[in-house]
Amino acid sequence: MTHEEIMEKLTEIFRDVFDDEEICLSDDTTANDIDGWESLEHINLVEAVEHEFGMKFRMQEVSGMKNVGEMARIVRSRITDTPEKKKRGLFRR
C-alpha cells in the first residue's frame, strides 16, 4: 500500500471518528488542526486505525506521533513488515 493510499484511508477514518465530512488530511496535520481531537478521542482514533489496517501501534508511539504523516509512516512500515493480524474470538468480526 502506498503512502497516499494509506492517507486516503486515514482520511475516511478521521471523518467517521470526528463525524466531520470536511476533514482533509495532510502529512502535517496535527491534533491542533482538528476539532475535538483530544486525548479521549485519540483512543478511538488509534483503535479505528489499528482495526482498519490490522496492525498495532507500540505504546510509546500512541502518544508520541507528532503528525498524521508520521502515523501513516508507522502504519505503512507495520503492514509491509509483519502483518500482525489480531485474533480476538467471537466478537471480533
Partner: protein
C-alpha cells in the same frame, strides 16, 4: 431505533461512528424517559459512558450522566460530594475490576486466618459503600463483579490455594452474589461471565491499562455497555415479553408441507436434528421462565400442528399462547398476535431463519427485534447474548403468565356465547382483592408499575426502594388490585397511588394491566379508592393524564369515571377533578374483598 445498535452489533463500527449514531438517535423523534445515572469508576469510564448512552437511547431512555473523577468511586460513594448530591442520581453504576482489589495477593506464608481476614476487609470495603448509597440515594445500584486475573502466579494451584488470586477473586465473587441475592435494588453486573465469553486474554490486554487506565480493552467496551444496558432496561421494564417463532427450518429442519411429518429433521438421530432439538428445548425453557411463545409461520394450520405433533418435537401446541399459521404477511400476523395478547408489537422478538421475512418485519414493525442467525445453534447464542428477556426483577407471576394468557383466550371464546356483555362479565364470577400495599405484594407492584405503558395515566416509574418509601408513608392512599375469575388467577393487575393534600387526593399513579381490559376492574378500583377517601373525610380527587405515545387508550378515562375536565394542555396532557360527594359505585360485576381464607398470604 438504529439497526447498527441491534444485537449482534459490530463493536468497531460503533466505537468509530458513535458521534454520528448519537446524533441520529437524538434526531429520530422518539419519546424517551429521562434518567440521571451516576457512574462511579475505579478506572477510566469515558468510553463506557458514551457507549452506554447510545444503547440506552436506543432503548428509549435518555440518560444524563455524572462521572466521578478518575478512580474516585469509593470517595464519591462514601463522602457525599455536593456535585453528586445535587445531581440526585436515579441509578448508580460502580465500575470496578481486578485493578481495584487492594487486599490481595498476600505473601505465600500468610496463615489461612490472615487470608480470610483480608477477604472480609475487602468485602466490607464494598458493603459499607452499598449500604451508604442505599440509605442516601434510595435508588438501584449496579456493580461489576470481578473478571479473573490475567496471570496466575501459582498456575492451576491459584484456583484452590487460598494465596492464589484466582481463589481470592472467586471467593469475592461468591460473596457479591450472596449480597445481590439478598438485597433488593442491588444488581450484579456479571463481568466474570462476560470477560470469559469475550476471551480473557483480549479483555485484559494490559496495554489499555498502561496507556489509558482502562481495565478492559477498548474493543470490548460496546459488549460491556450492552450487557449493562440489559440490566438497566429490565429495571425500567423495557424487556421483551414474547418470542414469536417461525417453524420450518427454525424449529425443525425441512418444510413440513413438502416433507411431511416423517420427513422433517428433529430428534437425536443426526447432528442437524440435535441442533433443532436443542433450539426447541431453549425456547421451551424460556417459556417456563414466563416468556410467551407464539407461532408465526407460513403454513396451513393442520401442517403446523402436524410438525408440532412429531413424536420427537419438544414443543407442543399447548406451549404456545397463540398460533398464526397461515399465508398472510408475517408483519400482519405479528400485529394480530399482539392485539390478541393485548401487548405492543415492540415487546416481541421474532425468530425466523429467512432473512426476507426478518426484513419485512423489521421494516414494517421497527420495534420488533428480528435478530439474524445462520443456524439453530447460532440462534440460541444470539438470543442469549441479546438478553431480550433478562429479568432483573423476577416475580413468581412471570412463571404463571402463560396460563393467564391462555385463560384470557378461553374468556374470549366464552364472550361470544353470551347474549349481553354484562351477562358475560357476571358469568366470569370475578373476585377482586383490593387493598393497601403489603411487603409480599411489593415486588409485583414495582414490576407492574415499571412495565405498564398503555393503561397508565402518568407513566411514573419507581424503584423498589422508592415504592417501599411510599408504602411506609402516611401521606398516600395506595391500592393494589388482584383479580381472579373462574378461569384462573390474573394476579396483581392494577396499582393506584394518590397523595393526600388536605381534603384533596392527587392521583400520582393509576395503571392497570391490559390483560384485564373491559372487565370493570378499573371501576372496582375507583369504588374502593372513594370508600377510602370517605373514611378520611376527603372531598375531592384530582386526576392527571400525561400523554405518551402509548397511553391514548386512557385519554378519556377520568371522564368515563365522572371527573370534570379542569385543564387541557397543548401537548395532550389534561387534569381532572371529581367531587366525592356525588359518587355512586360503578362496579356491579366483581365481588370485592370477599375471597375465602384459602388465598390469604398466597401471593403470585
Amino acid at each position: 431505533m438504529i439497526p447498527e445498535l441491534q444485537y449482534p452489533f459490530d463493536s468497531n463500527e460503533l466505537l468509530k461512528k458513535r458521534r454520528k449514531l448519537k446524533k441520529a438517535l437524538l434526531e429520530d423523534g422518539t419519546q424517551r424517559i429521562k434518567k440521571r445515572i451516576a457512574v462511579l469508576g475505579g478506572s477510566t469510564t469515558n468510553d463506557i459512558v458514551s457507549m452506554l448512552e447510545l444503547f440506552l437511547l436506543q432503548e428509549g431512555i435518555e440518560p444524563a450522566f455524572y462521572q466521578s473523577e478518575y478512580a474516585q468511586y469509593w470517595q464519591d460513594a462514601m463522602f457525599d460530594p455536593p456535585e453528586l448530591t445535587t445531581f440526585q442520581p436515579e441509578l448508580i453504576f460502580i465500575h470496578t475490576s481486578q485493578r481495584n482489589i487492594t487486599e490481595a495477593p498476600l505473601p505465600l506464608n500468610s496463615s489461612e486466618e490472615t487470608v480470610q481476614a483480608a477477604l472480609e476487609r475487602q468485602m466490607s470495603h464494598f458493603t459499607q459503600m452499598w449500604e451508604h448509597l442505599a440509605e442516601r440515594y434510595h435508588c438501584p445500584v449496579i456493580q461489576n463483579n470481578f473478571e479473573l486475573p490475567s496471570y496466575r502466579l501459582l498456575g492451576n494451584r491459584d484456583a484452590y490455594d487460598c494465596h492464589g488470586m484466582v481463589w481470592f477473586v472467586s471467593e469475592l465473587n461468591r460473596r457479591f452474589a450472596v449480597y445481590a441475592a439478598s438485597h433488593t435494588d442491588f444488581y450484579l453486573h456479571d463481568i466474570h461471565y462476560l470477560s470469559a465469553r469475550y476471551g480473557l486474554d483480549a479483555w485484559s490486554d494490559p496495554s489499555y491499562w498502561y496507556l489509558y487506565k482502562y481495565s478492559l480493552c477498548v474493543p470490548a467496551i460496546p459488549e460491556f455497555a450492552y450487557s449493562l444496558t440489559r440490566i438497566i432496561r429490565s429495571i425500567y421494564g423495557k424487556t421483551k415479553k414474547v418470542l414469536a417463532l417461525d417453524l420450518d427450518n427454525t424449529l425443525w429442519g425441512g418444510v413440513i408441507g413438502d416433507d411431511g411429518q416423517e420427513g422433517i429433521v428433529i430428534g437425536q438421530e443426526t447432528a442437524e436434528a440435535e441442533a433443532f432439538t436443542e433450539m426447541q428445548e431453549y425456547c421451551k425453557s424460556l417459556g417456563q421462565l414466563g416468556v410467551l411463545l407464539t407461532v408465526c409461520s407460513k403454513n396451513d394450520r393442520e401442517n403446523a400442528l402436524l410438525g408440532l405433533n412429531h413424536p420427537d418435537s419438544v414443543l407442543h401446541e399447548n406451549d404456545f399462547v397463540f398460533m398464526a399459521a397461515n399465508w398472510e404477511p408475517k408483519d400482519q400476523n405479528l400485529t394480530k398476535t399482539a392485539e390478541a395478547l393485548s401487548l405492543l408489537p415492540e415487546s416481541f422478538v421474532f425468530v425466523d431463519d429467512n432473512p426476507a421475512e426478518r426484513e419485512i418485519v423489521s421494516v414494517q414493525l421497527p420495534g420488533v427485534a428480528a435478530p439474524p442467525f445462520a443456524s439453530p445453534a447460532e440462534c440460541i447464542r444470539v438470543l442469549d447474548g441479546a438478553g431480550y428477556f433478562e429479568a432483573a426483577l423476577f416475580s413468581e407471576a412471570d412463571t404463571k403468565r402463560m396460563d393467564m394468557y391462555r385463560a384470557n383466550i378461553q374468556r374470549t371464546h366464552m364472550e361470544k356465547s353470551y347474549a349481553s356483555y354484562t351477562e358475560y362479565l357476571l358469568g366470569l364470577e370475578m373476585q377482586a382483592e383490593i387493598q393497601d400495599f403489603t411487603a409480599l405484594a411489593l415486588p409485583r407492584i414495582v414490576q407492574l408499575t415499571n412495565k405498564s405503558n398503555q393503561f397508565n395515566l402518568t407513566t411514573r416509574r419507581y424503584t423498589q426502594s422508592e415504592m417501599a418509601q411510599i408504602a411506609a408513608s402516611d401521606k398516600y392512599i395506595r391500592l393494589y388490585g388482584r383479580l381472579k375469575d373462574k378461569f384462573g388467577d390474573n394476579g396483581i393487575v392494577s396499582v393506584v397511588i394518590g397523595e393526600i393534600a388536605g381534603k384533596t387526593l392527587h392521583m400520582e399513579l393509576w395503571l392497570m394491566s391490559c390483560r384485564v381490559l373491559k372487565r370493570h376492574m378499573e371501576y372496582a378500583m375507583l369504588d374502593e379508592l372513594i370508600a377510602q377517601c370517605r373514611r378520611r373525610s376527603m372531598e375531592t380527587i384530582c386526576g392527571y393524564y400525561y400523554q405518551t405515545d402509548k397511553n391514548h387508550m386512557v385519554r378519556e378515562l377520568y371522564r368515563d369515571f365522572g371527573f370534570t375536565l379542569k385543564e387541557q394542555f397543548e401537548n395532550g396532557d389534561s387534569t381532572w377533578v371529581l367531587d366525592i360527594g356525588d359518587y355512586t359505585p360503578k362496579n356491579h360485576v366483581i365481588h370485592v374483598n370477599q375471597t375465602e381464607k384459602e388465598h390469604t398470604g398466597n401471593d403470585t
